[in-house]
Amino acid sequence: MEPFVVLLPLFGALLAMPIGRMVSARAAELTTIAFVLMACLIAWVLFFDVAVGHNARTIQLFTWIGSGNFIADWAVKLDTMSVIMLVVITSVSSLVHIYSVGYMHDDASRPRFFAYLSLFTFAMLTLVTADNFIQLFFGWEGVGLASYLLIGFYHHKKSANDAAIKAFVVNRVGDFGFALGIMAIFFIFGSVGFEEVFQAVRTDAVVTPFNAADGAPISELTVGFLGLELHALTLIGILLFIGAMGKSAQFFLHTWLPDAMEGPTPVSALIHAATMVTAGVFLVCRCSIIYENAPDAATLVTFIGATTAFFAATVGLLQDDIKKVIAYSTCSQLGYMFFAAGVGSYGAAMFHLFTHAFFKALLFLGAGSVIHAVHHEQDMKKMGGVRHILPFTYAMMIIGTIAITGVGFPFLYDIFHFPVGTAGFASKDAIIEAAYAAGTEGRTGAYYAFAMGLIAAVFTSFYSWRLIFLTFHGKSRAPDHVMKHPHFPPNWMLLPLAVLAFGALFAGMLGYKSFVGDKAASFWGNSIYIAGDAHAGGESHAVEAYAAEATPPVEGDHAETPAIASAEDPAGAAHDEAEEHTEGYGEEGEGHHFPLWVLYAPLLAMLIGFGTAFAHYMRGSDPLRPGLLREGGILYSFLKNKWYVDEVYRFLFLNPSRRLGRILWKIGDGRIIDGLGPDGLSGLAGFGSRLIVRLQSGYIYHYAFAMLVGIGVILLIVRLGGAQ
């Protein structure tokens, strides 16, 4: 059964085109939906089996590459981490498939669209179920391909093609780092399997890189890279993170994500919000044990994540394209996830990934509903008052917005012992508190992340409400014929919104205890590194905990621990025991005691943002002329131009490489290679030909002369040769 969760979408992808051609486009849609829904069902079954029932396992399908030590299998690795991803991917994918039936109803190449969607789903599932870096990389590139195809789906539009190429090229930069990281792993550990590598890191095993005479414990091992002698794990961590930055659109490599909005809106919801862009977070969490043992790499993750969270939020303030606002919002939220991972709270990162999938998909699909209604207009300046046309969508968008901005009731925590509020409230607060807690423990960059996270929360609230006010409130600024004849969304589109809205409201409260709360340790098993007391000599503890894997957890001072997990999950038991010493973050009155202001700060940030947006866009006489951030100001153009990152890249990389390309093309290839090579040689042949043919004069005496000269030359040569 397990392999089918991955394979079913592939079957759908392969069948969509033939069925679309032979039967009908609708049949192709229904086929792919059926396959994805089946996969979704299996994913949920597996979720309860693996994550709730603690039945982690890996199903080896076959060996893909086997060359000496270099062994890469096709496998379905099922642990808590991967089943969460399975559930998120298949659920959102199913909803997006269904939604697309309505959204794409007037498109001519629907079977192709659905084939790509299913192909993407397959690749993403391959990625998350990998048990080695090579299969992970296959899925990584597979989703990149699907993303390329879907961004450029409207291939008659130049902007769509450009955006697709940009996404691909920027991802190549990241993938280059990622590939180097995988090579470094193989170079250092002699293996690309997760289990082998992570086990070596956990036990601080002595490893011998390929060219080294003798090995060293992995925590002390250094390797040469670009002439520098670097700490091995830090190097690996940074290289892998470069890959993650590309895929997850982190600062420096984020430029492709806003442009990727050229793709159809369901694609933006599935790929560029809920799933693919979170692959980077998934990678970092999957490799959490490496980052925990490479503090410098973790600091880099924190720093980049926090910066992205802030940067993207500021840019989001001024975007007029409804999808670009949400795109920058995605970028910003991914930043949250990264700095959560960077400060060591992988559970919080995954938690936010989980909840974000719901409310961001909801926002995108809601935006899609609006775009669909107003005749594919995306500029919010030309909307306004849409709530009268789309009341249901309006309600859904409000739910999405309160989720992303984190509306909740912190004071109710003491009563219910879990955060009462929307999904975003639960997960975002967990992240911000984790950052603060890490700061108090002296983790580098954690306070920076905490500050950035709070500021970004203000901006998040501002641009989210700005979107609502500009789109749904006020007077309509759309042309008359649009407002008189809007396209009402069919039920195909509304149903997924309702499902996602449910998730956006309740996923946080339902998942809190398992993801970051007091059940976290047993929930995660050993699929991610749980903070525990990592900062206070935690490494030795981790070693101990995993040493317990080999023998039942009855030894020493752990023996009296009440084992929650069964004997099959001794590591979980060991973690639970760790849990007793230091509780999870954010649990008032038990583990960390946060100052009150830390607990209320996110909510306050949200209110500030809301209030400002309300003042600007609801109270102002003209919603397009808000007081602050007026057109023409320095800040305005700085933000409007997205911090000039694209322009800087154009100046630093694009123009020089285009110039270099021209030089290599015109002079290097054209003149030197072609000139001396093909053109030169063929020119020489032509010249030689004309020369010899000119000797062929047609006169007998010339011919006779040539014969005699020939004899003379031959005799001469023979004599010279014979004289030796």
């Binding site: 063929s682 042949a685 032509g686 030689g688 030909s689 004309r690 020369l691 010899i692 043919v693 000797l695 062929q696 047609g698 007998i700 010339h702 011919y703 006779a704 040539a706 014969m707 000269v709 020939g710 004899i711 030359v713 031959i714 005799l715 040569i717 023979v718 004599r719 040769g721 014979g722």
Partner: protein
């Protein structure tokens, strides 16, 4: 040994001589409209000779006429190939000669006579009989070249051929006289025995002149200059004959003279090897470069044959049994390709006359797809592209040359074959990609069509159909020289 015993070994040649004269007499007396009867007679007579060579006493090994004439495996193989080529040449002439108003009974008779000359030539083991054979075939060929005596081009071609041929004969005779002067012998065996360090230089001079004369016959550079003019000027079936049987015969006697009269045992190998290497390189280069500029398909084929002779000489330069075997394989395959190509060229006829320009082939794939496919397969094969027979021909000579350590020669051969590929592929490109030219007439006759189809089939399927047998036969034939 009695004369009566000896004579039975020469039955094929005697039969050819008698039937040639008989057909000549018959031809004089019957009406000219029965010229086809003479053609059939000639074909029949060559068939009989072919039979005699392979199944009569002539198939046994013997040496007769005081060592001037020999019957051995090498001669048997060469004669068989020459006879078959001659038969095809007569078949190819059938419809063409009528339409060009050249249908005269002398044509098959002259071919018979030249075949007789070649037959004698390849069986010679004495300088005198070599010269006699060569002259007998050449004289017939000179006349054949001028066969269209009302055409200025044809007569000019014949005259050039004759004058230059006379010059080459003179050079060859001079070389033979030097060899005789220094060794006091004319039979190959005695020459080999008589060579020593004292007369080495004199022998080398004689050998170089002899090689020059033979190079003229195989049209190897720098004695090749007559070839394009004669190929272009002669009537096309004659050109086809020129390109096939005489080339083979000359190459065969070339090999026999060098291997038997100047064997490796006397250190003479190193002397003639460098000459052959030089001639081979020159021929390949001239063949490759000159053909690029050609517009006339017959001239193209002339340069192509010069280049191919260079490759065949590469095998000869190896000087080993493997080398000679590769020469025989190469020449046989070349014969198939060249006869096939000329059969195709003979189909290039428009109402206003024969089309001879490469540009006339434009878009042939649209007007005559069958002909286009045959033409293309033959061009690929001539270029030496794998699975076609021409590739294996080149492969064997290259292998022989590599085994003999002639690496420079092999490198030059490979490079010039790259250049040569250009003009063969250009023909293919013109056939398949250019705008169609007016269509050719379709009445080339069953003979020409049959020959074209047969050679194309052999070229394409040759790797299974003839390659295994050809290899064994050529190796056996080459072995008899050593």
């Amino acid at each position: 040994m009695q004369l009566g015993d000896n004579i039975s070994f020469a039955f094929p040649e005697i039969w050819l001589a008698i039937s040639a004269m008989a057909l000549l007499m018959i031809g004089v007396f019957i009406d000219s409209k029965y010229h086809r009867f003479i053609s059939f007679g000639a074909i029949f007579s060559i068939f009989v000779a072919l039979f005699l060579v392979n199944f009569g006493t002539a198939s046994e090994n013997a040496s007769l006429f005081n060592g001037a004439f020999v019957t051995d495996g090498f001669g048997q193989f060469s004669k068989s190939v020459i006879y078959v080529a001659a038969i095809f040449a007569i078949i190819l002439s059938d419809r063409f000669m009528e339409r060009e108003r050249l249908a005269r009974f002398e044509y098959p008779v002259l071919i018979l006579l030249s075949v007789l000359g070649m037959s004698l030539m390849v069986a010679s083991t004495d300088l005198i009989s070599v010269y006699m054979g060569i002259e007998l075939q050449s004289l017939a060929l000179y006349i054949l070249a001028t066969f269209n005596r009302d055409s200025r081009r044809s007569t000019e071609a014949g005259l050039k051929y004759f004058v230059l041929g006379a010059l080459s004969s003179g050079l060859m005779l001079y070389g033979m006289s030097l060899i005789y002067g220094f060794t006091g012998a004319t039979t190959f065996e005695a020459i080999a025995a008589g060579a020593d360090e004292a007369n080495r230089i004199g022998l080398i001079f004689g050998m170089v002149f002899l090689i020059s004369g033979l190079s003229f016959k195989v049209s190897a550079a720098p004695f090749h200059m007559w070839t394009p003019d004669v190929y272009e000027g002669s009537p096309t079936p004659v050109t086809a004959f020129f390109a096939a049987a005489p080339k083979f015969a000359a190459m065969a006697i070339f090999a026999r003279v060098l291997v038997e009269a100047f064997p490796a045992a006397t250190d003479a190998l190193s002397d003639w090897q460098q000459v052959i290497v030089l001639v081979s390189i020159l021929s390949m280069v001239v063949g490759a470069f000159s053909a690029i500029a050609q517009k006339n398909i017959k001239r193209l084929m002339a340069y192509s044959s010069i280049g191919h002779m260079g490759y065949a000489l590469m095998g000869l330069a190896a000087g080993t049994s493997q080398g000679i075997s590769s020469v025989l394989v190469y020449m046989t395959i070349y014969l198939i390709m060249t006869i096939g190509t000329f059969a195709c060229i003979l189909m290039m006829r428009r109402p206003e006359g024969m089309a001879e320009n490469i540009s006339d082939l434009s878009g042939l794939s649209q007007t005559r797809p069958g002909l286009a496919i045959m033409f293309s397969a033959l061009m690929f094969s001539l270029a030496g592209i794998p699975i076609f027979l021409g590739f294996f021909a080149k492969l064997y000579v290259f292998m022989a040359a590599v085994n003999a350590g002639l690496f420079v020669l092999v490198v030059v051969g490979a490079l010039s074959s790259v250049i040569a590929t250009y003009y063969y592929l250009r023909v293919v490109k013109i056939i398949w990609m250019d705008e169609p030219a007016p269509e050719f007439e379709r009445d080339a006759g069953p003979g020409v069509k049959g020959v074209a189809i047969l050679s194309t089939v052999l070229i394409v399927a040759g790797i299974v159909v003839i390659m295994p047998f050809l290899n064994i036969a050529a190796e056996a034939a080459a072995a008899t020289l050593f």
